[in-house]
Amino acid sequence: MSEPRLVEVRRNVLKQNDVIARGLRERFREAGVFVVSLVSSPGSGKTMFLERTLTELQPRYRVAALVGDLATENDALRLARSKAPVKQITTGTLCHLEASMVENALQEWELQQMDFLFIENVGNLVCPSSYDLGENLRLVLMSVTEGEDKPLKYPTIFNTADVAVITKNELAQAVEFDWQAARQNIESVRPGMKIFRLSAKTGAGMEEYLTFLIQQRDEQRAAALGA
């Protein structure tokens, strides 16, 4: 038998996902839909936050949501209360969404009929960071009850996200949430990151965040039309 030799192949393992994600991003751009994904740990208030977002945007915009969950359809049922079209992606044992799942889930939907599409990832702060879903904006959520050092524990997901949203702010005082420390930690792992502090329960802080989303969408539309 001949001696082993080394051959260079240079294959990006996630290339397939990246290619699909790029295709999705292009389709979103052509259809004029602004796509926002949400990542967080389980229990950070993602679903309530998204329900409120859908409800408040709906009078003025056409909104829809895809929701990733391991086994149940509870989140989709909750979000359906907002009257927006909602589709569940049940991932089974998979801990994250991949671009192909988003592509499949969108098959029966007319992207042209949407202004905003939200994609709620599986509750997990590790695995989703590796997978591009073709979104325009990635939000990472953390609730005040999780502790200020969450960004330092999960730097990868915070760094790959565009915006941080601190949720359940109505509980901040009760849990003695150190806002300055949280801000510093976010700034350390993701310099210049946009941060919102809000309560989906009381609605405090929602307006500023929604204004930002609408502004981002307008800018993206202007850039797409100009291109």
Partner: protein, 147 residues
């Protein structure tokens, strides 16, 4: 844990390259950015499972860790980060998000031997010979099963 699906992606990529080049793979060299979101130990563990019943069974996964490298606008230089908890130039302290390296999950190279022109199925021959050493040491009975 998404390392199993990553491991399966590695195996698929390596198998495809091996088929195209008509070679047997004895080891896969992977370049793994420390910022890839993949846990190395979990990946090594998953790799063995992903290789089961493929032509890569018995092959090794050799992982090269790539540090995060950023570009510092102040120093006009590329710098490796000491910690992924702080995205700032380790020399002058200027915060930076200009990431040049650290997110890679790349099958960089394969250690291969040419497929033999023997009458027996080549994939079995290859994997058996390559894995003899480790099987002898760790689990002699496994070799029996494979034969």
């Amino acid at each position: 844990m998404h390392e199993l699906s990553i491991a399966m992606g590695i195996v698929d990529a390596a198998l495809e390259e091996a088929r195209r080049r008509e070679v047997q793979v004895s080891a896969v060299h992977l370049r793994l950015g420390v910022f890839s979101g993949v846990v190395k130990d979990a990946l090594l563990f998953s790799y063995e499972a992903a290789c089961q019943d493929t032509a890569l069974q018995g092959s090794r996964l050799i992982v090269e860790d790539l540090p995060v490298v950023v570009f510092c606008a102040e120093c006009q230089a590329q710098r490796a980060l000491d910690s992924i908890q702080q995205f700032a130039c380790p020399v002058c302290g200027t915060p930076t998000m200009d990431i040049r390296q650290g997110r890679e999950i790349e099958v960089f190279a394969l250690e291969v031997v040419d497929q033999q022109e023997s009458s027996s199925p080549s994939d079995q021959t290859g994997s058996r010979q390559q894995s003899t050493q480790s099987l002898d040491a760790s689990n002699p009975s496994k070799q029996e099963v494979e034969l």
